[in-house]
Amino acid sequence: MLPLFIIIPLAGAFIISVTGKYSRKVSYTITWLVTFVLMVLSLKLLIKGGFTSYNIGGWAPPLGINLVADGLSILILVIINTIVFVAANYSIGYIGKYTSKWTYFALYLVMLASMNAAVLTGDLFNLLIWIEVGGVASYALVAFGTRAEELEASFKYAVLNTVGLLFILMGVCLLYAYTSTLNMADMAQILAQKPDNKLISFVIVLFLIGAGMKSAIVPFHAWLPDAHSSAPSPISALLSGVLVKSLGIYTLLRVMFNVFGITLLISKTFLIMGTASIILGGILAVYQNDIKRMLAYSTISQIGYIFFALGLGTPLGYFAALFHLVNHAYAKALMFMTAGAVVNAADDIRDIREMGGFGKKMPVTSITSIIGSMSISGIPPFGGFWSKLLIIVAAIQAGQYMGAFIAVIISIITLSYYLKLQKHVFFGELKSKWAGIKEAPVSMCVSMIVLAAVCIGLGLLYVPALKAIVLDPAVNVLINGSSYADAVMK
């Protein structure tokens, strides 16, 4: 079942690239079907739970490449495939204004395949390749509008991320030279037997830079505001909601926790980088007047929360981090979709000062946007409230009073800039030039409603029965770092 997560989207992408230019309907249908099937498969995997390993070509792990689905992989896989399905549904309504739509859907499915594969693979070099594939697909998608600012954003994104990947490549090379294996589980076992070494510290730094660039943590965040605000909105939703988490945070977690083993030094680094991201992203977001740019800075701030909680090093901290990761993925995808609906209706104007009073004309977008904002800012009873509360509780338990204080303050600032967004866009007087705006097409509305419902429901993840299925297996992977290697090499 595991290779299906790679085969189906790739097959869809290649079929679209062969047939897509003859019929637009074919590419819509294929994308919708592929993403729907994968969503169902991922949910099935979540319910089944447990640990699954698959040997590609029948070659056993140390020699061959294997696919591994443990708690952490499955959690991220479910997030990826649900959001990608909703965003595909949204794209069908959104993509109307662009030309050569089949290219968009082909690249979209390649990006999906790469994220699924990066999360599932058990081989370090394979992981690097899939990150690169996902990167290339997303560079092209960011530049899809082909206007000057989009091309510039895409170029900046491409250059910075390629440099980041070079660091990872160098790290992989050094590790391969040191351990003579590329399988992550095998590598973890060999590293555990070898004495502590300066080389490992160096490689850890390389991975921190490379994967940190992908996850846009301060000081590697420069590409994110441009790329996320220039991309077509469903792609922004994917970049911010999923790609940053699957290719960036997941990679970092897998390598740090399951290959090297987490140390105090790595935890402290996470803590410092996380705090810097929380502050910088939060404060910069307040000053933005571009609706999508504000959301992009908010992403940096929320990623900071995730890293901050990971850096606490306690089981509750890990739990809170993953919980916040889930909440932020859905809420931010929803926010970018509502922003896309607004920008689409307002003739590509993204400055919120020129808008106002859209709430009366676009009720669905307005209500879903409020739900998304409230979830990210941490207003009860939405999911975001529980995860932020847990982060703060975990910080106090771990003795990080200063960090907890910063988290609370920036949380209030988060609320303030989301209120600013709501006030300027949906409330107030409707200007005369916007008299003719209409609600978004049905497919976009449906997608936003679905995600809003998910955002409300995510608070339930703290209920023990659901927690045991969804979050606990993933947290256990982080707590027992060596259990991954033991399970794979068994």
Binding site: P3, I7, A11, F14, S17, V18, G57, G58
Partner: protein, 155 residues
Amino acid sequence: MIKKPEQGMTIIVKTITRYTVVLILLFGIYFIMNGHLVHGGGFAGGIIVALSYMHVMLAFGKEVAMKRITDKTIQFLVGLGSLSFLILGILGMTKGYFMYNFFRTPGVDYIGKPFSLFSSGIMPLMNLAICLAVASGFFSVFLALIFYRLSEDKK
């Protein structure tokens, strides 16, 4: 094609190209066909095959080359090559594993026998599929560069 002096490079380049292009193509095919036995393979061979087409395009000009192989065909071939690689992988699933080498005789020849062309199961077929995808992909990158250059000149 040699009789159109207004297109492409000089007659010397054109004449030499007519002889060498076949050799380059042949060298690429040799790489692909021996990829499972010696160094080489679909990727390297595909690039050499693409280079031979570029050679024709550089020497004889864009119009002459595009008459033989159009950008639509190239786009189709990229998809076809990747798709056939994937189908080979999926066919392996009938024998239990994705990418399983289902053609080979069990235990004997999965690493390939020197001087024996089809001796390692599906590997030569996979090399062919990769060659198709890489050659047409590489060539389409080249085409894209040429087209953008042209549109810039028109300004």
